[in-house]
């Protein structure tokens, strides 16, 4: 008997695992939307002249950057219901999305803050001198330029998120990794199963990176000389 490896089994597994891509992507995309919304608020709070807001944002960033993802997921899914019974009704997918979203918001906040800083101060001044309010200036002039600066870093966060969704299996969510795990346990073909799921993550991230590149090309257009 040679090496115990059955490449054909991988092809058998792939379609089974692929069926769970939607739940993986659903978690990643919803968590990303949550992270962008929260991260933007934290970034603006961190940059605010209001000391309390800025300090609060700093604490948020420090806390969520420090605690391991698993600990946070457990805290939300198993811990919160103990304090607030309403959370007993929360399903595992929701808990995972909240956990991923709030954590990545901390990282995004730092990326957004740097992106805002890299927009020249003169852009705000010019906006104010033509009579715009600060809010108008942020929305129409500063934010679009910051978004382009933030895109590469934000893309990396999304890639992390896609990979991180594999942790949701610890809450009982069946996504691509959980499915691979179950297939492995059934067939005892661990290597093939985990290789199959690894290939799927790889593929997802290749496709995403391609899309991001396209988007970067579009957003870069105004700035190319």
């Amino acid at each position: 008997m040679g090496v115990n490896f059955d490449p054909l089994y991988i092809f058998e597994l792939l379609p089974r695992i692929i069926r769970y891509i939607p739940i993986t992507l659903l978690m990643a995309v919803l968590a990303m939307i949550l992270a962008i919304a929260v991260g933007l608020m934290i970034a603006l709070a961190r940059n605010s002249k209001n000391r309390l807001l800025s300090a609060g944002a700093a604490v948020y960033i420090s806390f969520f950057r420090a605690i391991p993802m698993l600990v946070q997921l457990f805290l939300i899914y198993y811990g919160l219901p103990q304090l607030f019974p309403v959370f007993t009704k929360m399903d595992a997918v929701t808990a995972a999305i909240i956990g991923f979203g709030f954590k990545q918001a901390a990282f995004l906040a730092e990326i957004f803050r740097a992106a805002f800083h890299s927009v020249d101060k003169g852009q705000m001044e010019a906006s104010l001198t033509v009579g715009m309010t600060k809010v108008q200036a942020y929305r129409r002039i500063i934010l679009p330029q910051a978004a382009r600066n933030a895109l590469p870093g934000t893309g990396n966060i999304f890639i992390s998120l896609i990979k991180e969704t594999s942790l949701a299996f610890t809450l009982g969510v069946v996504e691509i990794f959980a499915e691979a795990k179950m297939q492995a346990a059934e067939s005892f073909r661990f290597f093939e199963a985990y290789l199959a799921v690894a290939l799927i993550y790889w593929l997802l991230i290749i496709v995403y990176s391609y899309l991001q590149q396209k988007l970067e090309n579009v957003l870069d257009r105004p700035y190319r000389s």
Binding site: Q123, E125, V130, G131, R140, S225
Partner: protein, 248 residues
Amino acid sequence: MIKVTNLRKRFGDLVVLNGIDFEVKDGEVLTIIGPSGSGKSTLIRCLNFLERPDAGVIEIGGVRVDAEKCTNRDIRRLRLQTAMVFQNYNLFRNKTALQNVTEALVVVKKMPKKEAEELGMELLRQVGLEDKRDNYPATLSGGQQQRVSIARALALRPHAILLDEPTSSLDPELVSEVLQTIKKLAEMDTTMIIVTHEMDFARDVSDHVIFMADGNIVEQGPPSEVLDHPRHERTKQFLRSFHANRKR
């Protein structure tokens, strides 16, 4: 009319504007000259509250603001009386030339887009850049960017235009196209306050010249006096060093 009374500004311990008073009548051009660090930019930036003055009264086109007691609304009303042309243009980098001109018309004045674009094109034509309407700032030369920024400044029909060293960032061969544009405005009786180091230009377009040093107005008057027959030693010295530098 612009009337500034007892304008004061300090950065920490450094007194940058030490009680400035002056007036500009409608249609006049005021030029401010003076050595580096004398407070020229700070003065012009206080007029639209990019820097907040510590004290003083600023009155532009009927809007009167006392720096010591004014609300954000007062500040915005004052800002709408002027437009600014910056040394490094500060065009909106995410907007085309035409959008740079129409942006405030649409967002601030709530003008319908089509009307704003017609006016925008007219202004681009006025600065000779109608064929650049869809260019982003990154694809324009410095001189072209500055001309777009002048068109942008004109769009809101401000009471006055403030220009802080509008040609200082430009390559020498691009300076004259911008000065020509500004001169055309002066001929159309646009009220302007210009900080510049271009003495020949100042002599050419100004109705009034202020020489500043260390946060004070040392001398002011028509260009024929201040630039050609200065009375104060400080002014003479500045103009001498200026001409000496230029010959080198």
